[in-house]
């Protein structure tokens, strides 16, 4: 968690990856990560190959390496965790530079780091090449319950509106000389949070009225539907299929 929630990852572009239908990309990313997670951690070369595969996709999507790497920072807490694993894990120990490290812990650290990084990288690529709205259409197409997609859609639509309201409340507090400095001020902040909830809920009610006024009766009318051709599916699934081959090799070798 942290401040990273605020900015979106999407990068506008017209690459072949951007052009793929969203549900094929979602499926591809998910399958890829599943394959990565299922790979035995001892097959270190396999992870290198996965990274090469992702780099290929990134190149194809014209996502610069710097952008991708910067976003990997979200992992930092877990990197810290991974770095410590060799120290705290049990089992056989090895001595490196005078420190006693657990072999299991080293493997564990490697495992978490490699898989976590590849997972984040895959998600970043997905988010960087797929517009918000498309993602929602894709989720809908992948048979996520419609109500859940609607909730997500409203959350996206009003996330900015509510964040703006929160910002305005903060400015209002600060312009009256209030600055939250410690636990003593939690009461004031909680009142803001409470007010924010009331505003959000009341807006929800008003949105509902506006929807009903335009004939909403429980189901969202289908306005756009995304479709994918066989060729597009094949193109999207190239990534997980290649990864699967690597994974199988990893188990066999």
């Amino acid at each position: 968690m942290g401040a990273g929630h605020a900015h979106r990852l999407y990068r506008h572009g017209h690459s072949p990856v951007h052009a793929l239908p969203p549900h094929t990309k979602l499926a591809a990313a998910l399958l890829f990560v599943v394959v990565v997670v299922s790979t035995p951690r001892e097959a270190m070369w396999a992870f290198a190959l996965y990274a090469v595969l992702l780099a290929g996709v990134a190149h194809h999507a014209r996502v610069p390496a710097g952008f991708l790497l910067k976003r990997l920072l979200i992992e930092v807490p877990f990197v810290a965790f991974a770095v410590l694993m060799p120290f705290v894990a049990e089992g056989e120990q090895v001595r490196v530079l005078g420190l006693s490290l657990s072999v299991n812990g080293l493997w564990g650290a490697w495992n978490v780091l490699a898989k976590g990084t590849l997972g984040v990288a895959a998600s970043v690529l997905l988010a960087a090449t797929t517009e918000l709205r498309e993602l929602l259409l894709g989720l809908q197409r992948l048979k996520l319950p419609p109500l859940l997609v609607q909730i997500a859609s409203f959350m996206i639509r009003y996330g900015d509106v509510i964040t703006d309201e929160m910002r305005r409340m903060r400015i209002a507090r600060e312009s009256r000389g209030f600055e939250a400095r410690g636990v003593r001020h939690w009461g004031v902040l909680a009142k803001s949070a409470g007010a924010l909830f009331i505003r959000s809920y009341e807006r929800g009610e008003r949105v509902h009225l506006a929807m009903m006024s335009r004939g909403y009766a429980g189901a969202m009318p289908v306005i756009d539907e995304v479709t994918a051709s066989g060729a597009q599916w094949r193109r999207a699934l190239t990534l997980p299929c290649a990864a699967l081959v690597v994974c199988l090799l990893g188990w066999v070798l």
Binding site: R133, R157, L209, I223
Partner: protein, 252 residues
């Protein structure tokens, strides 16, 4: 139904919220087809409550609302909601879809319109408010005035019998305010405009209703009502400083 059916007919409408607060105490009025009428009144007069009765969102009190000869009630709800287009005060409440195009398409699509006919409705509605170039933008990225115009388009796309606007001029800068006025004048639908903006009412609406304490306190030509000092003061209505309704020529 006679040959000259009123667009909207409200008679004896009374309503209390279940928490005991009564908002309407017997409202009567009717709008002829094609009329533009302003609904004026102080805060808390029951204007919003009345508006929510017009398309059956609120109900259960006494009295009746009839839209183009069709009584508002459970059995015609879909038709009523199509005929009565409400533009709410905060366009952010009204624009709930991810893009302008989808939002404008929402109403007609809910009524079962699909494909080319749907696209045509969307294009037509956006053109009428001059927002056709913004179809694929998310509403959050538009200015307030643009959002209000799109909100009008979302309702126009349903081809309503009557357009109900709740405070259409609020928070608009003078230019956006004038643009909206031009749009409203160009439409040939019945318009009921709920507003505090008395000059705007005078500019756009030949006739006005004053709703005060849950009843229609006055009904007549806008210029006359606004010139009647006693009436205005009795219902907490005030003209902006220096504004004289008698000196304005009305563009009906």
């Amino acid at each position: 139904m006679g040959p000259v059916t009123a667009s909207l007919e409200v008679s004896g409408l009374a309503f209390a919220y279940p928490d005991g607060h009564q908002a309407l105490f017997g409202v009567d009025f009717s709008l002829a087809r094609g009329e533009r009428v302003a609904l004026l009144g102080p805060n808390g007069a029951g204007k919003t409550t009345l508006v929510l009765h017009l398309n059956g969102i609120l109900g259960g009190g006494t009295g009746s609302v009839t839209v183009a000869g069709l009584p508002v009630g459970k059995q015609h709800m879909a038709a009523i909601r199509q005929k009565v287009g409400i533009v709410f005060q905060d366009p952010d409440d009204q624009l709930f879809m991810p893009t302008v195009r989808e939002d404008v398409a929402f109403g007609p699509a809910a009524a079962g319109i699909r494909g080319a006919a749907l696209e045509e409705r969307v294009r037509g509605a956006l053109e009428r408010v001059g927002m056709q170039d913004f179809a694929d933008r998310p509403p959050h990225h538009l200015s307030f005035g643009q959002r209000r115009r799109v909100a009008v388009a979302t309702v126009l796309a349903m081809e309503p019998e009557i357009l109900v606007l709740d405070e259409p001029s609020s928070n608009l800068d003078p230019a956006s305010r004038r643009e909206l006025a031009d749009i409203l004048r160009s439409l040939d639908v019945t318009v009921l405009m709920v507003t505090h903006d008395l000059p705007y009412a005078l500019e756009l609406c030949p006739r006005s209703l004053i709703l005060s304490e849950g009843v229609i306190a006055a009904d007549g030509p806008t210029g006359e009502l606004l010139s009647d000092d006693t009436l205005m003061r009795a219902h907490r209505l005030e003209l902006p400083f220096g504004f004289d309704p008698a000196s304005v020529t009305m563009g009906a």
